[in-house]
Point group: C2
Chain length 240, copies 2
Amino acid sequence: MPKPPSKQPTERPSKRPSKRPINQRLAEAAVALFDENGYDATTVDDIAARAGVSRSTFFRYYRSKEDAIFPDHDALLERIDARLRASTADTAIVAITDAVRIVLAHYVDDAEVSLRRYRLVRRVPALRDREIASVARYQRLFREFVGAWLGDSPDAGLRAELMAASVVAAHNQVLRGWLRAGGTYDPAEPLDHALGYVIATFRHLEQPQDKDQVVVAAFSRGATPQAVMAAIRRHLESRA
Amino acid sequence: MPKPPSKQPTERPSKRPSKRPINQRLAEAAVALFDENGYDATTVDDIAARAGVSRSTFFRYYRSKEDAIFPDHDALLERIDARLRASTADTAIVAITDAVRIVLAHYVDDAEVSLRRYRLVRRVPALRDREIASVARYQRLFREFVGAWLGDSPDAGLRAELMAASVVAAHNQVLRGWLRAGGTYDPAEPLDHALGYVIATFRHLEQPQDKDQVVVAAFSRGATPQAVMAAIRRHLESRA
DNA sequence: CCACCGATAAGACTGAGTACCATAATGACG
DNA sequence: CGTCATTATGGTACTCAGTCTTATCGGTGG
């Protein structure tokens, strides 16, 4: 198997004509050519030529032509995985929230690149499918995490699938809105809103026994307000 | 552009050596060869040869090698679209439920084919990605339908995305369970259970104003039970 | 200076997918 | 029964992605 170059091949290169690392030059050349001539009309040779390297070198850095557009998906996937693994059962929701925030931040931090890629991916079916497949891998991570979290409770599989799908869908909805708007605002608040929506959804389902329940309480008319409050508090806390 | 053969090219063919229509013969040859030699090791020439036609003919029936495995996705997509369109706002939930049932039934009706395809898709990344992209198209249909249904209510976009994702995830969860079990049971009940779960989830969210609300009522100690009931009824009905 | 080693280049090869043209089958019609 | 138009099919050539193998380049340590 072809081993990828050990590191940034030239941290401080002694070569004259090119200073940026080759993988960046290739990615930039790819995006530029895709913009200019379209995805299908651009060959790998074109990309390599503009980057000033050979076709062989292109494939040493990217497994495929599509890969040049999604250079950092694998690294991001690993960060998400790491964040999820670094959590216990009682911090699961925080871990999920954090993980989604990491993904969104990754796009926002590189708004320029994200927007250009978005415009490109939107009109090239092959790239769209590729991106969808990537999203499915995130969803799989979340599903496995939630599944392990829920253990073997009833419907654990179904709930894990639904939660993962909802979390990813919420993220995508927020991200797409931000991209469509040209990245002109901070999507942090919309994301929290969307995630809050999702979490509220499933929190309700986790305590189905409480739904539609009506509590009727009767107190002696002479009871002090403190006594009434104490009784109510005892009742509420017995539920938790 | 190459026009696909107008109809089943030979309803009752006069040719001797082959009676089944060519598209079926090609699909069967493809699946058989993929089973025997693996997906990558099978070339389009191999498939065409086993089906007794030329390579050109293969590409006239299927746009790509992958297409031979998913011959009926387009037709199914159109059926779903038709079912969704044939509904009004107040029958939306029924339409969604029906549509999902149609998809599942499509797999169950051809259990043999579905199971073989499942085993194949599971271990060929290219096919997995392709299938994921197909699922995304279903999800898109549902999303657009739900979005139109919700109109411009607050968070309509987010809710449409979440509902569509949940409906599709529920279907996938049920289908995968059935496939993993070798198609040995009727998944209709599990599907209804899963869809019920999803519908309950969002029904709760549609009345968010009631959540976490506590009602405290005080009545004169001498009030008759009828008077208390009447007061409660008035309060509840004022909410509806 | 030499030996080694990783990065790159160069070229051959397979196979998917496209385009184009030639030919065989079919079906309608006189 | 022949003719003509239509349509499915076969065949061939081409582009390009992706793989593989070999050669060259450049630096580094001995």
